[in-house]
Symmetry: C2
């Protein structure tokens, strides 16, 4: 048995997230279909995380096992020849048999893109959350600084989560302006369900003056989802990097 | 009666082109639906050109007539509030009653985007034609220089065209590299059906050595579609500007 690690990139617009669902096409199911076309059997593919419907990935990692060794380049070229255009295999490498795309990960980095302009633009808003009013980057960064460190992120997690341990360590969280866009970059050892989207929504709430950066400690302590801001829409969110 | 000129932008991926079709959703039909929602009547909207299925527009112009005067900003904000996200109204202005989006146009500028890389990228290939082999920009520009000027472009037009006059004047045609992309920019007083896509496909044929730049005069003289290169796919083509 050989364990292979795939690095893929996808435009999540058309998918119901990563994980196989009873209804709706997912990236995982399309990838498994493509592997089956390529090697004749249908290995289960294990992802580094679940991503929500409509979320994108510049770099998403997943592993699968196969009996026969095919050269790595065969998987890259072969899968790319059968995958739809909105999913691409960037890399394939053999890993140790105890490697696990999710559990071996030391952390992940996400980028949330806000298109901060009053001008409607179909090309910019496909991959971003458009906010017309001018955002206050300094205030957002005051809030982002409070997010850094080890905290119980229960209040920044959607209800319906199944994990019991909600403590995570955020090593980096900041916003920066990039022409018409404001990018929120966040790196952590792990993320709860909807965590980046809720942190982004809260950062916008802070910019709007609805929430004060100094409220952050209270929000953490409350563990109460309703104390944090809104959930930013999925189409602005990109999984940027998986750390092993 | 007031004649209004709209400037719109759209991602054409989901549309069967501009013009109303018996089957399939078009930009024109969606825009007319949105106007009807806004003003209660359904004016015909006349576009500056037909664009093909899957072609995009950074700037597309169209006019319609209405009885009651609404402030221009009402059309911009009102239409944007009901249009789908892949169509945006950028501007609205009242024009003279004899102004015509198509016949008053002095020319148009298109940009064709080639993603010239062996690396598959779902975000880059959505709005470009991916070509893996390295293209020869100098050779492409030799061909583009031949395209400039007044010529009979019948050979660079899809069969099935209905116009009889196939002479057009190209004032500008060149390619330039922009990171991973090669952009073909072309400005002319008018364009035949599929003309930019066939010129782009021929420029790639020239790069590949299948066609020599010096063949261009022969292709013009032949008037024969099959003498030119392939038709580049629609998703790389952008209407960039309409000149009045």
């Amino acid at each position: 048995m050989k364990r292979m690690l795939l690095t893929i990139s996808y435009d999540g617009s058309a998918y119901h997230g990563w994980q196989v669902q009873p209804n709706g096409i997912t990236v995982q199911s399309v990838l498994q279909d493509s592997l089956e076309k390529l090697i004749g059997t249908r290995p289960g593919v294990t992802g580094c995380s679940r991503t929500d419907a409509g979320v994108h990935a510049l770099e998403f990692c997943c592993h699968f096992d196969c009996e026969d060794f095919l050269p790595e380049i065969t998987f890259v070229k072969g899968l790319n020849s059968v995958l739809p255009k909105d999913i691409a295999v960037k890399d394939c490498r053999r890993v140790a048999n105890d490697f696990h795309a999710r559990y071996s990960s030391k952390g992940k980095q996400y980028v949330y893109r806000i298109y901060n302009s009053a001008v409607r633009d179909p090309f910019k808003s496909r991959y971003a959350w458009q906010i017309e009013r001018e955002l206050d980057i300094d205030r957002m960064n005051e809030f982002c600084a409070k997010i850094c460190g080890t905290h119980d992120f229960a209040a920044f997690s959607a209800s319906g989560r199944t994990v019991s341990d909600t403590v995570r360590t955020v090593s980096e969280c900041f916003v920066k302006k990039d022409e018409d866009f404001i990018l929120l970059k966040i790196t952590a050892d792990g993320f709860l369900y909807n965590m980046v989207r809720i942190i982004t929504g809260t950062a916008v709430g802070v910019s709007d003056g609805k929430i004060s950066p100094s409220d952050t400690d209270y929000i953490f302590a409350s563990g109460d989802r309703s104390a944090a801001g809104i959930t930013a829409p999925p189409n602005g969110l990109f999984l940027n990097k998986v750390l092993y």
